[in-house]
Amino acid sequence: MDAIIAQVSRTLAQAVLLVAAGPLVTGIVQKGKARLQCRAGASVWQPYRDLLKLLRKGTVQSDTASPFFRAVPVLVLAATVTAAALVPVLWTPGGGDLPFGDAILLVALLALARFLLAVGALDAGGAFGGMGASREMTVGLLVEPALMLSVFSVAVTGGTTELGLLAARREALALSWTAPDLLALFAMLILTLAETGRIPVDNPDTHLELTMLHEGMLLEHSGPGLACIVLATHVKQLVILSLVAALFLPLGLAQGWGAAGLGLALGAFALKVLALSGFLVLVESSYAKLRFFRVPQFLGLGFVCAFLALALRVL
Amino acid sequence: MTSHLLWITPLVPFAAALLMLLVRSRRALAAMDVAISLAVLALTVAIARQVQVHGAVSALGVFRADGLAVVFLLLVGLLSVAVSVATVGWMRHEVGRGQMREDRLHWYFALVHAFVATMLVTVLSDNLGILWIAMEGTTITSALLVGFHGDKHGLEAAWKYIIVTTIGISFGLFGTVLIYGAAAHAQGGVLTGAMNWSSISAIAHRLDPGIIRIGFIFVIVGYGTKAGLAPVHMWLPDAHSQAPTPVSALLSGALIKCALFAIIRFHSIALQACGPEFSSGLLLAFGLVSVVVATPFIIVQHDLKRLLGYHSVEHVGIIALGLGFGGPLGTYGALLHVVNHGVTKALVFLVAGDGIGRYGTRDMRRMKGFLGLAPIAGTLLLMGAFSLAGTPPFSIFVSELIVVRAGIAGGRFVPVAIFLAMVVIIFAGLIHHVGQMAFGSAGEGAERGREALTPLLAMFLLAAVMVLLGLWIPVRLDEVLSAATGVAGG
């Protein structure tokens, strides 16, 4: 019984770690973009300040909203943080009696968060909420099959979709990269852009009603509710980056619980996240936003790459 | 074993017919009509019990009732009772609407009973000549009944009916002559009762196959015309649609079956004489053609009674298919289908008659909202339509199941496939037409009168038999059918 308590406490600790690190990664990405555009940009800790400000402010709610509207921020944050608990960051979460860390469950939790957000947006009853929800769901359903295919192409080698076991097995292979891995990584990177709402698919910084996807849904939320959702967005971004890291760069996962092992794992994780956020910064600064009905072709490219990865792996 | 019931049974309705000529009041005629029909049914049940106890009974050297005859006897008895009960209410309605003239009622009832009498003689006759004469009698009486309304269409239908069926029956007579010649030749010219079916079927295996083959072809084309087998069926929709409703019910329910009875008689002879493939093959061919030819006419039909006429062609085709598939299973299924179709078709004709009376038109496109107008009759119409189309809780599905099983047992997959395809298309057509009639809301022209009691009584009787046979074949009926299969299967 105590093993389970230890495992649950470890999982909670990891969730807290990711929640804390989430806004930091966004701050780093914003800082990186600013630097590339030769301007100073806000400090790396700015997202934390925004969150605290929001938490302290009062709530302005639409008069037509139903109880769903108030419940949505809480549920979205909970779903995203639960997903954070499943991703192998410093150690393999599924080690103990209770198996955590299944990829399909993780993707499904993120889908749940997206579904709740869309429903919340429709509740407020404006045009922008509906448009944002419709576009977000459309992008979401185009991403999911490609995401599944790339996860399968990796899972086929390990014979399981549990990220912990997969990471452990791939670590044994020690960086022996084959063509399917490269194709799958490329597909995952394209999908990461779509999932985190970055430039080619959606512009996170804009507030122009007609162009924003993800932002459109947050329009009506305010105060602590908005804080929960923004925090959830940051955590989601970090979860996806760590998912990519776990699937393709499984180095440095701590085996035991010794301080040295954890420190090494933390360092390796930080490096991986920095590399990926660097990729995000590069893409955001060099591309323009695609017209919405060109996004399916863009995601189609991702789907074809994932399909080829699986084909090469299986045939 | 001689039984005097055999010649009394046809005599009773014939005498009643003559008596009715003298009676004038409608109420008395209707009462006599029902009484006589009940008497006929009682007599047929008595004969059935006698046959079950003693096997085949004969009388006067000319009449004979064996297992096969009993099935058709019971059907004719049951239908004549149902029709006469329905006629009471129907006639009052028709006279009220001026369709039937009061002074010619006695002719109508007399002709109906003469028609029933001739059908009984057909089924009871052992002598093939008497069978032909009775068949010609049914043609004459029913031709007058078809043309009874005296309007242009009625007379045209009567004319086509009498000409085409008389040609058909004359072919039947020539076939009988040929078979009689072959029988006389086989017996070396000795004339002892050579015309009787029982004696011919006794020596059937010794008959010369060549002449039996030609004779059987004349018989199947001849009596097939009378039965409505395609492609010689064209008179049937005209006659059945123009005749008064009770007469159509009798025509479709009973008369077609008597023609099939004659074909079965000759089929059993031909089976022994020239082997099973010849006559079964012919029957199969005619059956399949009937089902295929009836399909397009059912789909694009607008006239309700013509639709039911073509449906009779299809079901005669199914019976012929059953006989064609042969073997005890096929014949059992065909005979069961004879009873099932007789009952169901009579019910649907009575309900259709009631509907046409209410709407004053026969065009199905203008008969909307029948369920709203007459809920009981509407439900019965739907039940009847589903039964005709072959859906399970009703009787026709059971007999079609047996026929298809016989078909598959005989390894004839192509005919079965064609048959099932046509049945499904006909199902779609029939339910489409009846659905259009039953649902929607009735126009203002429709008559919302109370539903007369006696027609409903008759319809409930027939519907009860239909549903009963759909779920449960009583042991007694099973014995009768098995005996008949023994006789017909040869």
Binding site: T59, V60, Q61, S62, D63, S66, V74, A78, A79, L98, F100, D102, I104, A108, L112, V119, L122, D123, G125, G126, G129, M131, A133, S134, M137, T138, G140, L141, P145, L149, G159, T160, E162, P224, C228, F292, L310, V314 | V164, I167, F171, I217, I220, V221, V232, M234, L282, P296, F297, Y332, G369, L371, T391, P393, I425, F427, G435, F439, L471, I473
Partner: protein
């Protein structure tokens, strides 16, 4: 007086359903042998009997679950909305009894009789509103497709019966053992066509979205939730039981056919569902999708069964299919009852005329939301569990199937696409119907449904949550069917090896590779974190809450601003234009100058390809052939006589010679 009769009728149906459920549960968990009951000899040529084994008991459980809920729901629904409630009660009773009989039929004749009576009684329910001609046409198409299916079934059954001599299932089983492969495949394909027509598999699904919405909502719930499952029972009975190759795997072609049909049904079903505005039509299309998902599970089970793949995986796949059958019955029933309560209170089925019902009908809204989350296969609820098991079966199976594993992979990605599409569809359905401003007076004055209707929905909601949180116990129910159909250990051994809380797919010991999740633990974590987040939001102090109109660029917001269902689904209409072939016409009434628009009317339409290409063409061809033939029959008597003469001469020429 009639109301009392309706209540008593439905009460008796409900009680009977509960009794059957208890019997089924007892049978599934116990180890009693297959119960056999000989019926009285109705027909001389066939001995009719009933026999209940694991598979039929499981399907009885499915039937009784939804029937109990529908029985609670129906009386108050019929009160407000009834045409001839007496007839409907009888038809509902007959419908449920026939479905139960089909599942426990022991021989061919009982099966066919019960099968068609089920169709007929559900037809009565579909056309119960006799004045509406649209229902009559829907009922007609339903009956015709069902009848064609039965004809196919009839032939496949009788071909088996001929070889086996008897009409009961043991004789059929014996006959099937001796069948040569080509006949066996022919019989299976015929049976698949027959059952597929009834289950709504893609090419034959056209009747389903027309017939199900026409019936009263509790009947639609039963038809969608349960009747499709009875058709799937037929497929399971044929594929795994009657036509099973003794001791060998089923032919691979069968598995692939079922898998591809399932994938096609899933994707096309949900794509078409997305474009519907009628709430009940949308749910009916979703039935097509979920039948597809069940068939994917069944297809994988057929591929891996009988020794071709590892037994544990085959059992997993079959357990996934059966569990999804139960799950779909639960949440589809819940959704249809929810849609019914909306229809009962507002009298409107079209989403575009509803909106803002969440505040007026809180209970129905929350229960419909729960159903929506379940059907979109999102984690805490039962939809996710069975879809997760199907995923695992596909992926782990793919490794075993060698090269053709790629096809399984693609099927898995299509399944994911279906999940995504379902989530989008139900976000639209729930959002547009329940949230935002009420668009018409109907929605404005809606009030909450009476208690029995809510109770009916609550029963199914509890079932969804229970199956979602504690799937381990559900595995015990699947033990007997999976053991009987695939041999080997039952479902619980294969899936809940590591205790009831954990779902383990495949077993690591046999080197098959294994994935395990503990849905209960994740749900607990989710609840804990939700509580934490709720505390976080309310933590500093009770933040003041002010109500203000929604931001619509400064204009006073009205219901016209709300996003419509059509708008929501527009991006997908463009992306999948090839399948939809969308057609629209926009009428503009401009004022003095072309830029002043006085009135704008939009009329858009999405075409169901199967319907236009397949059905319309066949119908047209038959009708024109019929008109062509009919034109030959002139009324002239000379034609009649000529036909008699020609027939005689032809027969003499053909048949007369020896």
């Amino acid at each position: 007086m009639r109301r009392v009769a309706v209540w008593v009728g439905h009460l008796s149906i409900g009680v009977a359903a509960v009794l059957v459920a208890i019997f089924a549960l007892g049978f599934l968990t116990g180890s009693a042998p297959a119960a056999h009951l000989d019926l009285p000899r109705l027909f001389p040529f066939a001995a009719m009997s009933l026999s209940v084994d694991g598979l039929s008991a499981f399907f009885l459980l499915v039937i009784s679950l939804v029937t109990a809920a529908a029985a609670m729901y129906a009386p108050s629904y019929l009160g407000a909305h009834a045409h001839a409630p007496g007839v409907q009660t009888l038809a509902l009773a007959a419908f449920v009894v026939c479905m139960a009989l089909v599942c426990c039929a022991g021989d061919l004749v009982t099966f066919l009789l019960a099968w068609e009576c089920m169709t007929l009684s559900s037809w009565v329910l579909v056309v119960s509103d006799t004045r509406n001609e649209e229902n009559a046409r829907a009922g007609l198409l339903y009956m015709v497709v069902a009848h064609a299916g039965t004809a196919a079934l009839l032939v496949s059954f009788l071909v088996l019966a001929e070889r086996g001599g008897g009409l009961d299932f043991p004789a059929l089983r014996a006959a099937a053992a001796g069948l040569d492969p080509s006949t066996r495949t022919a019989v299976f394909l015929l049976a698949l066509a027959g059952f597929g027509a009834k289950a709504g598999v893609v090419p034959l699904h056209v009747w389903l979205p027309k017939a199900h919405p026409a019936a009263p909502s509790h009947a639609s719930a039963l038809m969608s939730g349960v009747m499709l499952k009875v058709a799937l029972y037929g497929i399971f009975r044929f594929a795994f039981d009657l036509l099973a190759v003794p001791g060998g795997p089923l032919p691979a072609s069968w598995g692939w056919t079922v898998l591809l049909l399932g994938t096609a049904s899933a994707v096309i079903g949900v794509l078409l569902a997305l474009q519907q505005h009628d709430l009940k039509r949308l749910l009916a299309f979703h039935s097509v999708e979920n039948v597809g998902i069940i068939l994917i599970g069944a297809g994988v089970a057929m591929l891996l069964g009988g020794g071709r793949g590892p037994a544990a995986l085959a059992t997993l796949a079959l357990a996934a299919a059966l569990l999804h059958t139960l799950n779909h019955a639960a949440f589809k029933g819940l959704l249809f009852l929810g849609a019914g309560s909306v229809l009962a209170r507002t009298g409107v089925r079209n989403m575009e005329e509803l909106g803002g019902l969440a505040r007026r009908m809180p209970w129905t809204a929350w229960l419909f939301f729960l159903g929506a989350v379940a059907i979109s296969a999102l984690p805490p609820l039962n939809g996710f569990v069975s879809e997760w098991m199907t995923f695992q079966a596909l992926i782990l199976g793919a490794t075993r199937l060698g090269a053709s594993g790629l096809l399984a992979g693609v099927a898995a990605s299509m399944l994911a696409l279906t999940g995504g599409l379902a989530a989008a569809c139900f976000a639209k359905a729930f959002g547009v119907t329940f949230l935002g401003r009420p668009r018409t007076a109907h929605a404005e004055h809606a009030t909450e449904s009476p208690a029995p209707m809510i109770a009916g929905m609550l029963l199914l909601a509890v079932a969804c949550v229970a199956l979602g949180l504690l799937p381990g116990w559900a595995m015990r129910l699947l033990d007997r069917p999976t053991a009987e159909l695939l041999g080997g250990a039952g479902a619980s051994a294969a899936v809940t090896a590591r205790g009831p809380m954990i779902l383990a797919a495949g077993d690591a010991t046999a080197g098959v590779g294994a994935t395990a999740i503990s849905v209960t633990a994740v749900a607990a974590l989710f609840a804990l974190l939700a509580a934490l987040a709720w505390a976080l939001r309310g933590w500093p102090r009770r933040a003041p809450r002010r109500l203000a109109p929604t931001w619509t660029c400064g204009m006073t917001p009205s219901a016209r601003f709300d996003y419509t269902g059509t708008g929501f689904a527009k991006p997908l209409r463009l992306i999948f234009a090839a399948l939809y072939r969308p057609r629209r016409e926009i009428l503009k009434e401009t004022g003095p100058s072309p830029y002043v628009i006085r009135r704008l009317s939009y009329q858009g339409e999405v075409v169901d390809l199967a319907e236009t290409v397949l059905y319309a063409r066949v119908k047209h061809w038959i009708a024109s052939a019929a008109h062509e033939i009919r034109s030959y029959s002139t009324g002239r008597i000379h034609g009649y006589i000529a036909f008699v003469l020609v027939t005689l001469v032809v027969c003499l020429l053909l048949f007369a010679r020896a």
